[in-house]
């Protein structure tokens, strides 16, 4: 494959994996190839990343594809190093594990990668019955070496008599954990490379790339993703807060302060040399959040509670209410400065949101209007988060419309795809006639929603 074909194929694969690479950016990358040393692989990777990847969420996918299109080594070109005390081809597994233990605490990336490649070569091939099937696997490498069981050994080696359980151990654990991840990645990368050599890059490329973080469905989110999402939530909340504030701001500089301007002009014989403005008055929007915390949307609920928590710190006046079939104010759990994980636990134990355990939007809305109706006023933005699935109970549309009429703005974010609205017990469209409803399944859509607010 010539360089230009490789370049074009790589850019094409990035586009197929969901990265928006424009023609201009592809040209930039080609330009960059002319000025850097192509033999330096990391510099090549950096050059492609700088010109093509403009969002951190796309980076993992980019790295997978880069390793496929520009592999670090190819099979059959192994430089045999004779000075190695350990023969990786024949050494017993125990010795290999010892070697890995050393690499996990003190090895360089390069050593870790080389070791991973050797291990894939030794353990990664599995016999398959059907010809042409991919027959390289990372799980067999992991099963043979089981790096996650090495922690005790590492701790013993490194701490050597130091007190257990303290800061030193935490640091070592952190380090080993990180290196283990790196080792796993290196193995997975090498497995993909070998499969690509056997059956072509394009075939493996399609299945190898996971969707970027901001396109992962809220309802199908894993725990690990959730932890990463938390980091995305804060900036979003801040953005939402600014958006709602900007909407209410009148002039940028404030109005002309006529009196002060005139008085200042006396100095210059009546010519208004300096203009004075009234300081702009920032409007502090109030926010009322109503969120569905039932099990059917539990991962979404978890996310919205995080969002609530983050918003709580941005707005002067936020009141949050959680509901399943009855409603409770949950603001008190999100005191500014409180620990978010702790707040969630307390929330689950103490808040009174569940009567029978089946979501009932109608009842919850009625109870809300009854008990907390005065929370919504002409300065309030009302934000409802939920899937509008009400277990065939009456939706109480009139209650909702009176709430909406009283508020300044109202928005509804629904974590289900639009195509599933109105199926089964969903009353999305009915609610949608009262409150503008937005599909909000991933961070990208939430971001887009926030952008439309201005």
């Amino acid at each position: 494959m010539s360089l230009i074909d490789r370049h074009v194929g790589f850019v094409q694969a990035l586009r197929e994996a969901g990265l928006p690479v424009s023609v201009a950016e592809g040209l930039d990358a080609a330009q960059a190839l002319r000025v850097i040393q192509l033999s330096d692989r990391e510099s090549l990777r950096a050059a492609y990343a700088a010109t093509l990847v403009k969002k951190p969420a796309y980076r993992p996918g980019f790295d997978v594809l880069f390793d496929l299109w520009f592999p670090a080594s190819t099979s059959g070109m192994h430089t045999q190093r004779t000075d190695r005390p350990l023969d990786l081809e024949t050494a017993p597994v125990e010795e290999l594990r010892d070697h890995l233990t050393r690499l996990l605490t003190g090895g360089t990336d390069q050593e870790l990668r080389e070791f991973a490649q050797a291990m894939v070569g030794r353990f990664g091939r599995q016999p398959t019955t059907s010809p042409g099937r991919q027959n390289w696997f990372s799980y067999s490498v992991m099963r043979a070496l089981s790096p996650e069981t090495l922690m005790a050994r590492v701790l013993q080696n490194v701490l050597q008599g130091q007190e257990r359980g303290g800061l030193a151990e935490k640091n070592v654990r952190r380090r080993v954990y990180d290196s283990t991840r790196r080792f796993e990645d290196a193995v997975a990368t090498d497995v993909r490379r070998r499969i690509a050599e056997d059956s072509g890059i394009e075939r493996i490329a399609r299945s190898a790339v996971r969707p970027p973080l901001d396109q992962i469905d809220f309802l199908r989110i894993t725990k690990a993703d959730l932890a990463r999402l938390r980091r995305e939530v804060y900036p979003l909340a801040r953005r939402l807060a600014t958006r709602l504030t900007i909407r209410q701001r009148k002039g940028r500089r404030g109005r002309l302060d006529f009196r002060r301007t005139m008085r200042a002009s006396l100095q210059s014989g009546g010519v208004p040399l300096t203009t004075h403005f009234r300081p702009p008055r920032p409007h502090r929007p109030e926010l009322v959040i109503l969120c569905d915390t039932s099990d059917s949307v539990s991962s979404f609920a978890h996310f919205t509670l995080l969002l609530t928590y983050a918003l709580r710190e941005q707005f002067s006046k936020v009141r949050a209410f959680g509901f399943v079939d009855t409603v409770d104010e949950i603001t008190r759990f999100f005191v500014p400065g409180a620990d978010v994980v702790e707040a969630m636990t307390r929330l689950a134990n103490e808040a009174d949101m569940v009567r029978f355990g089946r979501t009932n939007y109608g009842h919850s809305l009625e109870r809300f209007a009854e008990r907390y109706g005065d929370a919504v006023g002409p300065k309030t933005s009302l934000l409802i988060l939920g899937d509008a699935r009400s277990n065939y109970q009456p939706p109480a549309l009139d209650v909702l419309s009176s709430l909406v009429a009283r508020s300044r703005h109202a928005y509804w974010l629904n974590p289900e795809p639009t195509t599933q609205w109105d199926t089964g017990d969903s009353v999305a469209s009915e609610y949608g006639t009262v409150v503008p409803m937005h599909e909000c399944r991933n961070v990208a859509q939430l971001t887009a929603f926030i952008e439309t607010l201005a």
Partner: protein
């Protein structure tokens, strides 16, 4: 400006900025392709410092535009000297031309465009500015020119080296990103952070710096409201030095936690997760 990424690494190191492959390549490409460099990442990873280091390493003048909400053309690009114009009108006949060079007040962007000497233009915290400012930047960043209605188009005599920084609190527009090279800066690896500490704090012992970097990495892995920045790691090293501590044991960490963690809830969490002696006991 630079010969190769390796040259970038060497020259940045000469002004005490330790870079890595990604940074050096991006900085080099920005110079070689003549494109602005957008640096994004969490607060305190050395984004602004990078621009300063580039300016210092190349002996260019640094022109800085600090963005904030409500920044407008008048503060970023140019403004007409209203007082001077008014006085001129009063002093002479009204049809005198009051829109000429002499009434023009240069702001950072215009200054960078018109500079004859090599310059580094730093547009700091671009995400803080309103969307309109991005529009303003588009013409500047793609063609290196600005149009002033009364004067016409001013084309750069010498292209400034442009660095934009952003904390990603707001997604910058596609149009802006397309015109820039992109560099995402993360917290440095413990090894690199150790070297940074060693270069910034000359008196510190290597093993203490190593332990410091590892501890900071552990802290960052906790779910904190505000993770410690590189500058705070350096502060921490200085603190230890000033206190004359040779070791980083639990008591020392717990006593000086305030140098790196600036939220009460973060401190409580770190004490709990790392098994430090209670802050109240110190």
């Amino acid at each position: 400006m630079f010969d190769s990424p390796a040259d970038v690494t060497a020259r940045l190191a000469a002004v005490d900025y330790l870079s890595d492959d990604a940074i050096s390549t991006s900085v080099f490409l920005a110079a070689a392709l003549g494109k602005p460099l957008l640096v994004e990442g969490p607060a305190g990873v050395g984004k602004t410092q990078l621009a300063k280091a580039v300016a210092m390493a190349t002996g260019a003048e640094l022109i800085r535009l600090q963005c904030y909400e409500g920044l407008d053309e008048a503060r970023a690009l140019y403004e007409w000297n209203y007082k001077k114009q008014l006085l001129r009108i009063q002093a002479t006949s009204a049809d005198d031309d009051i829109f000429s060079e002499e009434f023009l007040l240069e702001r950072p962007l215009l200054k960078a465009i018109r500079a004859a000497e090599p310059t580094v233009l730093l547009i700091d915290e671009t995400d803080k500015a309103d969307v309109e400012v991005e529009g303003l930047l588009l013409e500047l960043l793609s063609d290196f020119q600005v149009t002033i209605p009364e004067l016409g188009t001013i084309v750069a005599t010498r292209r400034p080296y442009v660095v934009l920084t952003s904390n990603a609190t707001r997604e910058l527009s596609e149009a802006l990103k397309r015109r820039c090279l992109y560099l995402h800066l993360e917290y440095p690896t413990p090894e690199r952070e150790r070297d940074i500490v060693l270069s910034q704090v000359p008196g510190i012992r290597a093993d203490l710096a190593e332990r410091l970097a590892r501890t900071v990495a552990t802290l960052r892995a906790l779910e904190l409201k505000k993770a410690p920045s590189v500058a705070e790691t350096v502060d921490w090293a200085n603190t230890l030095l000033a206190l004359g501590r040779e070791e980083l044991d639990e008591a020392t960490v717990s006593g000086t936690l305030g140098v790196v963690l600036k939220h009460a809830s973060d401190q409580t969490r770190a004490v709990k997760e790392l098994g430090l002696p209670d802050v109240a006991d110190r």
